[in-house]
């Protein structure tokens, strides 16, 4: 008994951290109606600022120097004291000022512009903020930063309260701090005019405005309050919780959310008490787990600690679900409209062909082989992104557990394949039935579906941001109870599980070759086909009754029920289908990696998946596919890293992604997919009108049997690429691609001769070329000249030939983005018919014929 009391008291130390962070979440929610997933990250940045100032005498500003030059630099590091240390109090003040400024920045730069956005937009923006701060901290401070010192001397009370053990003094300080802070905040809200005004604005924003208060100013003060207290808490209490890393501190958000929910997002003292209790119970379970969870329960030992916040969150939400305050904001926007996909199978055909050609081109392309891996990553993640499009984009349910579904499917598949023999990098034998891959994969996906339905159960009662909170807690529980649990997976820490190579009709479609790089074209084609099937399935969902019910539920649950739609069942169906797609993605990720480990499916990855799906365009299929191409190690980052070599752009991906998310949420909630679409559509039309004979061929592939004709073309193209690839008579990959395209065009041109009169005629094609040079030439020239001027001051290793070309390319890119943003009339409400025109994926060939003059409209 004494022992348990002692553990509980020790646990109050970490509990005080949860308590203060939870109180901060309540403060922000009261002040601005945002559930701030970046709260831990804000505190983290303040904490590291303090440590760098105190112990190294340096101040890091919250951004990085992204200018790729030596002579032009953004100031990032300010040396406060060349001796390498600074007085503690001064450092503390600097850190708290930094925290206050970050809080102000978060409010005025991110959440104030979003005050009328859909709840999802706010969630995504706070995820973006967390990603940004985490990315900046990783660059400025590093994840293996020497551990910050505690500001209190490491002393203990012997035999504390007669419990017979030494009790660390810092724990006592932490508890006192949490209690004092909660008391102070309570007093502020109860006793001051500011507190009264904040509560009034939280209840009725319009009313507060009428009474002469500025809700935005109140919100700003609350943001500062939350950010400063969180920083202070982490500085004082942080060292208790063990290793301090930017990522680890950001993850504190989940127990903090549990504490905030205990307080009903309303009461600071109750939230603080909840946080303290949560920490106490967690620590006690952690220390007693080996004796309490024994025998048949021993598998619970590893995960039980992280399940506690989930249990607390679920119980709180179920008990008081409807009594949680929904902020009475003036007007809330809905998610962007979901376009109706059109001609999906044609688009799928074109893109599978393109992916196959690229996969053949980059299989053995020297340093450019990274593209082959990037294509595979992009295709696999695009599948996972589609699961978000279905669940969040179509049905409006915010889930932060998508990667957990993928992980469950992959792990279950690996286990079903295991046969008790260790192989590959996994020498530990795992017992299992040794099933062939299709059956194992199907079982994996089926289990993911079951888990998906269970995770979806809370969605029946709760919605919006609260669902995000439940699902993130679930994701952490799945991670620690299953993926990281040796007792269940039989894998020792850090050792991945082996995945069999998939074969189709006797052909090896696995990802890894003898070169041990993931570059085999067969897998890229396999993944592209699976992605295409998933996209077609999703398009069919969107176009038919099941999608109508999803969108009806998204739009208005009351009206959906009145129309005879079973809302609960519809939501669960969405969770099931989404988990199935995510599971397929997870299985494909397993095939791509050749082995799976829990490191592939951390809960943070689910946040990134949701965030990037939003960045791509969460309500459309091509948004999901673009999102897949945008995630780290996928096509866009790898390409930029390759073309911007020497600039370390890949280390900026987290930070840039964060900025991109915030900007997208504010300026263009439809995501970036429409940009790609516009560019692709016009590029396609341009190609068709710029090369003699292409229009003739396109006209001939229409008609009722067009899908057969087009499949024929696709097979011809892929077969041709395969032939050139196998012949290996050209080494340079660019020459290879040029040669293939030239040969293909030659074949198409011959075909057009056979089909009828050549369209466009060579003269028309020449006009197209002339028109585009007139249109794009000046911009490209400016970019070229700028690149030539900047060349001497850059940090990369470009030749004087490449840099101006890159400059020209960038200038054209910027031009098209600027044009498109300008054309979008109003950021939040685009004309619906215009949106409806954005069909699912753009293809170079299948759009209706237009001439060069119409492409002037957008590009």
């Amino acid at each position: 008994m004494k022992e348990i009391i002692f553990y509980l008291l020790i646990g109050l130390g970490i509990g005080s951290l949860y308590a203060t962070l939870g109180a901060g979440l309540v403060v922000v929610y009261k002040g601005s109606g945002v559930i701030n997933f970046a709260h831990g990250a804000l505190a983290m940045y303040g904490m590291f600022t303090f440590d760098a100032a105190w112990n190294r005498g340096q101040l890091y500003l919250p951004w990085v120097d992204f200018l790729p030059t030596h002579s032009l630099n953004l100031p990032v590091r300010i040396t406060l004291d060349s001796d390498g240390s600074w007085p503690m109090m001064a450092a503390l003040i600097v850190a708290l000022v930094m925290a206050a400024l970050l809080g102000l920045g978060a409010h005025f730069l991110v959440f104030r512009p979003l005050r009328k956005a859909a709840p999802l937009g706010k969630v995504v923006a706070s995820l973006g903020l967390a990603l940004y701060l985490q990315g900046v901290a990783l660059l400025n401070f590093g994840n293996s930063f020497p551990q910050p010192k505690s500001i209190f001397p490491d002393k203990s009370y012997e035999n504390f309260l007669g419990l017979g053990r030494p009790f660390p003094r810092i724990t006592l300080v932490a508890i006192a701090f949490a209690v004092l802070l909660a008391g102070a905040l309570w007093a502020i809200y109860r006793l001051t005019r500011f507190g009264l005004a904040t509560r009034a604005a939280a209840g009725n924003e319009k009313g507060a405005v009428l009474l002469g208060y500025s809700p935005q100013r109140l919100a700003a003060v609350n943001w500062v309050l939350a950010s400063v207290t969180a920083t202070l808490a982490v500085i004082i209490v942080g060292p208790i919780q063990g290793t301090i890393t930017p990522v680890g501190l950001t993850a504190l958000i989940v127990p903090a959310l549990a504490a905030a929910l205990v307080g009903g997002l309303r009461s600071v003292p109750i939230a603080a008490a909840g946080g303290l209790a949560l920490g106490a119970v967690q620590t006690m379970l952690d220390l007693k787990k080996s004796s309490w969870f024994d025998g048949s329960l021993s598998w619970l030992q590893d995960g039980v600690r992280n399940v506690i916040p989930l249990l607390v969150i679920i119980v709180v939400l179920f008990v008081r679900g409807k009594s949680l305050p929904m902020r009475g904001t003036v007007e809330e926007r809905r998610l962007p409209l979901s376009p109706n996909p059109q001609r999906i199978s044609q688009h799928a055909l074109v893109w599978v062909t393109v992916a196959a050609m690229a996969a053949f081109a980059f299989e053995a392309a020297g340093t450019r082989t990274v593209f082959a891996g990037a294509i595979q990553t992009g295709l696999v993640f695009a599948i996972i992104m589609l699961s978000v499009v279905l669940l969040t984009g179509y049905t409006g349910q915010i889930s932060l557990a998508q990667m957990s579904f993928a992980g469950i499917a992959a792990f279950m598949m690996a286990r079903m394949m295991a046969d008790g023999v260790g192989r590959g990098s996994n020498l530990v034998a795992v017992s299992g039935p040794g099933l062939p891959w299709p059956i194992a994969a199907a079982i994996g996906v089926a289990v993911a579906v079951v888990v998906g339905v269970i995770v979806g159960l809370p969605a029946v009662r709760i919605r919006g941001v609260q669902l995000a909170v439940v699902t993130i807690a679930t994701a952490i529980s799945i991670q620690s109870l299953y993926l990281e649990n040796d007792d269940i997976t039989q894998l020792r820490a850090g050792i991945p599980a082996f995945v069999k190579t998939p074969t189709l009709f006797g052909i090896d479609v696995g990802a890894r070759s003898v070169r041990q790089q993931n570059e085999r074209p067969a897998f890229a084609i396999f993944a592209a086909i699976v992605l295409a099937l998933c996209a077609i399935a999703l398009a069919n969902v969107r176009r038919t009754g099941v999608g109508r019910r999803f969108l009806a539920v998204r739009a208005n649950e009351r009206a959906a029920a009145a129309a005879g739609i079973n809302v609960a069942r519809t939501k669960l169906l969405a969770f099931a289908l989404s988990a199935a797609i995510a599971g397929i993605g997870g299985v494909m990720l397993g095939f791509k990696q050749v082995e799976v480990s829990s490191a592939n499916f951390p809960f943070q990855a689910s946040l990134v998946v949701l965030a990037f799906a939003y960045l791509g365009g969460i309500t459309s299929i091509n948004g999901g596919i673009v999102a897949g191409m945008l995630v780290g190690a996928s096509v866009v980052p790898v390409t930029s890293n390759y073309f911007f070599r020497g600039t370390n752009i890949d280390s900026y991906v987290g930070m840039l992604g964060g900025v991109g998310l915030i900007v997208t949420a504010i300026v263009h909630p439809q995501g970036v997919a429409p940009f790609f679409q516009g560019v692709m559509r016009h590029l396609g039309n341009w190609i068709v009108s710029a090369f003699p004979g292409l229009q003739t061929v396109r006209a001939a592939t229409g008609g009722p049997r067009r899908i057969v004709v087009q499949t024929g073309w696709a097979v011809l193209v892929v077969g041709f690429a395969f032939f050139v690839h196998r012949a290996q008579f050209i080494d340079d990959v660019y020459l290879w691609i040029l040669f293939s395209l030239a040969m293909l065009y030659f074949i198409v041109f011959l075909a057009s001769k056979a089909l009828g009169p050549t369209r466009p005629t060579p003269t028309d094609a020449r006009h197209t070329w002339a028109a585009s040079i007139k249109r794009f030439g000046p911009t490209a020239l400016v970019g070229y000249v700028l690149g030539w001027i900047i060349w001497p001051i850059r940090v990369d290793s470009y030749s004087k030939l490449w840099m101006p070309l890159l400059g020209a390319e960038l200038a054209l890119f910027i031009r098209s983005v600027v044009r498109q943003v300008k054309d979008a009339r109003s950021p939040h409400e685009q004309a619906p018919d215009e949106l409806a025109a954005h069909d699912v994926a753009t293809s170079p060939v299948s759009q209706s014929a237009t001439t060069a003059s119409t492409m002037a409209e957008v590009v």
Binding site: L337, A539, V541, T544, G545, A555, A563
Partner: protein
Amino acid sequence: MALLEARSLTVSYGGLHANDDIDLDVQSGKLVGLIGPNGAGKTTFIDAITGFTPLSFGTVTFDGVDLAGKSPDARARLGLTRTFQSLELFEDLTVRDNLMAAAERPRWFSFATDIVLPGRAGRAYREQVDWALSILKLSDFADRLPSDLSHGQRKLVGVARALAARPKLVLLDEPAAGLDTVESQLLGSHLRDFLAHDMSLFLIDHDMGLVLNVCDYIYVLDFGRVIAQGTPAQVRADPAVISAYLGESAGEAQARHGVSFGHGGSEEDQ
């Protein structure tokens, strides 16, 4: 037996009886109206019948089925649909899809057939949706989004959505509110047409003219209680109704004007 039977229906919020001991019948094939001043509990009554508000006491039977414990969507599937005063359209779906979503009665495996055979999806319901669109003259707007339509047209979409499922009884919650006179008359002339399609209607409205003109039978609600019922002529003459609508205050004169307007309208019809 009546199609809809409410017996001793009571809905209380705390100590307040929003609906107090209401007995009400809707006969099959009839247009029954419910009128009453603001705050009389009209919308609460519809919410209670359709399952959006729990009953404190009493029973509701629809088509011989006791509705106790049935969810709103289950009631809709039984053939009891409603419209909303505040429209509540599916803003993300086109007008046709709004109706399709309400018309379709999916089986548990429908999602699978939809995904595999999208061409077949919804074919069985297209006809009744087209019917609902045409009866409210919305066919030209079928592929538009609700946000593109005028308020009056959006109202009609709400009504069409309730009709699309071919229900036995439609509860219309103030369908004429916010409509201009022409639109309101147009709607009134439509309402009696619906009855010919094997359908019964229950109408709530402020517009006394509309209710008195088109209904077969009228209930008058005040402070949550039924204070009068009968044919339009009986209700018009009922002293309790007159005192509920025509008090001493200046504002009541307007209501009286509404009543006399109703008179005029019905005489013209005859």
